[in-house]
Symmetry: D4
Subunit: 238 residues, 8 copies
């Protein structure tokens, strides 16, 4: 079956983003086959939407250099740990220093999420950004129900050259955030919700029909796509 | 054809809101027939979604006591002008006195609309409220794209016992407004928009899947329904 | 991960309804994290859409003061049992005294459901109302297929200042009930049905396009939202 | 172009209902061609969804024996006037004698419509029934908003062997009527409504997902189909 | 919880069809509660969409007189076995005697199904008909892909006063069958299919937009509804 | 504006079908610009979905060699009349000789249409085929409502190497025809119908979910695409 | 239950493709019943969409001559192994000889798939083709993201008389491939994707609305239908 | 009515893009009211989706400084002509110099459109960019049907820091273009198409579910939004 795989080795050179494997509809055999091709060529590989079961099966077959990140459902295979070759622009995991006189973002990308239910998508964005060589800062649980949370952060968020907004349900966060900051906003609708909100289509359509311009929309739950677009927008693909 | 009409004369007694005629799919002949039954019984009548053409044709056939309100597309027929028997609680058409020390709403209902395109629905709400005996105050063009417009009004809007929010496109106004005020918000989605926003379905679904509770949703463009619900909620139907 | 949570402690003061946790798309770890923040602050917390598995896992980790209500799928955490601080307006669980000379509602809210399949949503409404400090009375299995059941109750139901109607399938109950009573009706469509009725969209759309005004619609299965809206409409949030 | 027409002359013998021409998507030339074939064979013909313009154009080309019925949008061509060969079971256009001791229906089919906006579909049913040899009785404006109108008629309507219900918007009439009478109910959804109700799909889906069995559903606005089904159900096709 | 049940004991008298329990969204506790009410009153009860698990649980709690029919997913509870009180009009399970000189249907209802995948719905129709006192004859696997199967049966099928057609996928059977027989056809779309055909909506819409009149459509998979409508149409409810 | 046009002159060599202009969303100026480029290069050009108004405007600006075919809404521009260079395989406009001992199709393609409303699409197929060098034979008004019409033609239709079926409403013709003939069937759904059938989506989905294999589906109303596919399938592109 | 099966033994003679069993919605009992009828008549049988569980259960009941092909989910029952009676036109499993001076396809059908996730549908096509007597050549992982993969193959693919394109997500492969080759392309949309791409509807609609003519579309995941259409198009059904 | 307008004068400072007026659902009176406020403040104003009729009516009322651009449907009001204050980076209207040794883009933004039907949206993008201070270069009619047109331009297009792709129908251009260039691509789906492609939803969903990352999607026909996003992405808003 490995004959079925024609890996696009030159994609990074051509488009700035290397090929990433969407594991969702692939069998463990197919994923291992792709991974082995990459290991043979000493090519790093990154996989998204990997279930814990698939990750465990893969780790049993190709134990070396494989990292499964559970919160994001991603697998990274490579000799150098993911994110190690990043240019250091500060510690993205520390608390933002909101009392500082002048606001200085510690990374170039802010990820702003409406609620804790959006965390898996946030994590997929973060891990993909690390794979592509970019740190980011996470702002979770700042939905518009408590608008003060977003308004308190407005100045800090305005200092980032790029923002990624993550929201399900009605996706009002996209419009409100885009109306507060000068930088472009990538909107990632999330399939969180029920009734008319089930599947994330309301959040998607809210982002698309926003009354505020400057929103770049990607597919529902497409954390990988948002990260790749962000890197392209920053011109930082290495 | 007038035999086809069985007017529900007791509806106000039973439900608090008298029967109102939806003119959209009725012929001029049918509308005139209904009007004449009401005139004979000295019963006021109110019609919504009346096109200027239909209004002119009706005025030619039953000229007495007929009032066409063009901005809202409503027709009122009755001896006493619409709104004359209101309890006076201030002048709803004057500028809000935002510098006042303590905020006092001049009416019991605030109508908050995202943009000038929503004005026809706002007007239908206002006229229906007048027919039902209730004044209201209009706040137009306070969409979330310029959030300061809404935040500046937050205290004033919080003083109303009831708010009606009117918005098309992505309908983010519903969530943001409901997160700022203690009173219930009636959401009226408007069929303003294009692409995925065409027809008002995104605004409707945003209202329904809002992350903020306390929103009472009515059908797209249903200004009449919002007004009737408002009157019922205030317990003020006379 | 608890850094991801920014609980909106002031929401009750600002909007009249405290923040409630939608457990559906959250992990046990996230839910426990939120709960512990609340316990530390001696803040009550209420969670909806909690599966029995998640409830059991939570009870194992934070056993104190946790109550799981299986019929409604809700979890309550607080030192004082839910509903204990209610103003007593009668026993909502006794049989209605339909033979009484003058009809006196025993609570301020009647919950009217079409069938026994709607009971989980009815229970979510009841438990949320208790958390928000309001009793209610339950009328189940009064769908329009046997219209006499509803007509027999018409006078009794007309005495409530507020009604919540719960129905799946075609949702005819919303229109019929709203045509019989003077008070506003909150319509909660339920995802009971199959074929075209699957997912509750027909019931939702029936409520929205009802020929009877005065219906406040919330999202499908949104028992929590209906309860919060009811409390706001009654102005009873404490 | 007349070579394109292969009229199904034997359809009545085979299926009980003769071929009827749906004029909506046909040109005047095509309609006249069909009519002339019928006239040559001394075969009656009936056309539905004929616009006034098309009817006038046809009347100019084949003036003899052509009847246009404007309320229903139907054209009848035949030497004997439509309905003349009916068995007389009473005068369907007179007022129902509701004070009679025992209720006797004057026809075998009751057409029950929710509002005056449904009248064009009611008329298409009536005219098709006349063409197929069956009288009917019309009950218009008995929607569920004023339930008393329907309840008052319950006994009378129960005496018909067959009922045809016509309603747009949320179509609650279908369920309520079917729960009151022992005979089968044919539901004809009508494309009256706006917002989610636009196009008649909510009424259609309400009929299909009704909690009351015994409802035979036809397509939106399909007055012809309802009449043909009614005649088949009565076994009365001649 | 049994207080939640208001069984409609008079429904058969009023509408000709007794109340039947849709088990799909009810718990075992709710179903047993309903059954016990019926057993106490010596009232037969019939349940549809009962899973084998629910049936086994019920049989453990109320073992007497309970019959589970696996092919149709129905449960019958009553002292007299289902179908015993039928008027005998022949053996519906024997091979049709197609060589007979004159065709005589052995029952009043023919159930015509496109394929073997439709058998569960066919069985629900058969069992419901038996509960309502009516036998039927089953013709399965006569889809239009092999049109000769249907054409060979045309004369035999034409002799039935009523036909019920059951089909998924594109539902062409509805139109073809209705074009061959003089009696009305009840169309039951089935949720068999994949891709665009998933869920049965194509079959449903094919039935509704058929070019052949005389088709009475019911909801997808609604075998019970088809049977109830059939009995009403035959005027045979006892 | 003519700089905006990059005509694909080599398309016929590369794919077997020359570029054809879809006029629907183009202005008269754009169409004339394209036509003039073709005339200068002595390149024939064919346009579909041309309204009579646009055709008249074009004929005023470039009168030479322009042919408008009203029934199909097509425009042909070229020195040699359309269809003149066809290989003669008989007269496609004469009556089929159904009494012949052995059936010989007069062309290689049969176009089978359900009703006279489908004629515009049939004509677009015919004219496109002529432009591409292929005659065809038209069989109109053979829908399944009168199945005898199709069955009578079964042998004749079976003799064609390729069939194009054209139908709106429920599209049962696609399945029935494909079950009768050995050659592949191209299905062209037509936007004829109302209610659920409006826009042709039911016919499209019926073709896609047909229980009969061997159906090649094209877009709704896509007569041009069906003709181009037919020519490719016959390998006859010259 | 075997009485429910009316196998269409003559279908191959009539339409060129023998009846194939869609196992998805059939029980093991039904499948075994069909298989035994075929074994008794010494008739080969082919089943698609067979789960491993069903295949194992069938193999336990009728062990002789049964072959389960796991990658495609197909079962073949027959004395002669599947594909043994093929005319040999080369080894379809060897690497294509892309350096050959003149390109000679080794089979008549190329299957071109966008990614490895499409392999199950590719395999269903291959196995069905073998059953129908036709070999094919597989080109997997040539999606448009790395366009060079497709362009490198353009000459080789152009030499096939027929191509089957298999793609999920946005289905751009259909248009791009059809614009590069002279032969017709059968498009098989695949239900691979998430968000708006879930279920394969975007790929389907892309194929239908392609700007390139000459694409024959089949239902989502319908590998069997594509293979049957291919055999009909090649006129090779034996 | 001018009281209804609360122009967001600070929007450019806050978000980088000044407020632009969507004229589609506004009356001439509303548009003139907004324009006059701007003229009084010497503030430039830009309006999109202005019909020729509305533009003419506005020009009659406020003739000074008003420019209507018919191809794009935009109105510009300001003392300095639109685009005059641009930094000159070459003549965007001249032919690209494709034979140059090294490719140098003449502007920072390439607008790539699939066909001439997309020109109105292309023009709206161009005019909005000019208003926002940015030139662009137009590449029209480079759809994937003739892939050579796009491949020939690949190197030239790769030299732009930003591309805007405009396409209707199946929108394959988005994926193909994004796979060829290193810069981000803004996808603007266009409502060009018919059948399943009507309204532009297939093109939109193709862009969202593209197999190629790095695509920023905006609403259907949203040329203004694409231009605003482009300016934000370039950080060039002045």
């Amino acid at each position: 079956m490995s004959d079925d795989v024609r890996f696009d080795w030159q994609r990074k050179t051509r488009t700035g983003v290397p090929e990433v494997v969407l594991a969702q509809n692939k069998t463990v055999e197919q994923l291992v086959g792709i991974a082995q091709q990459c290991i043979e060529r000493k090519h790093r590989v990154f996989m998204t939407r990997v279930s814990p079961d698939k990750a465990a099966a893969m780790a049993g077959l190709i134990p070396q250099h494989i990292q499964f990140h559970a919160e994001s459902g991603t697998v990274y295979i490579g000799e150098i740990p993911i994110g190690v070759d990043l240019i250091d622009v500060g510690d993205p995991n520390s608390e933002p220093d909101t009392d500082a006189v002048s606001v200085v973002p510690r990374t170039r990308i802010a990820i702003v999420a409406a609620g804790t239910s959006d965390v898996p998508v946030v994590a997929e964005i973060e891990q993909t950004l690390l794979y592509l060589g970019e740190r980011s800062t996470r702002y979770v649980d700042v939905g518009v129900a408590g608008l003060w949370r977003l308004c308190d952060l407005a100045d800090e968020l305005s200092s980032y050259p790029l923002l990624i907004a993550v929201a399900g349900m009605e996706g009002a966060l996209f419009s409100v955030l885009a109306g507060l900051v000068p930088s472009p906003v990538i909107a990632v609708p999330v399939s969180v919700g029920y009734g008319v909100g089930e599947g994330g289509h309301v959040a998607l359509n809210s982002a698309l029909s926003s009354c505020v311009p400057g929103i770049a929309v990607v597919n529902i739950d497409n954390g990988f796509g948002a990260a790749a677009l962000a890197v392209k927008m920053l011109g930082s693909a290495r």
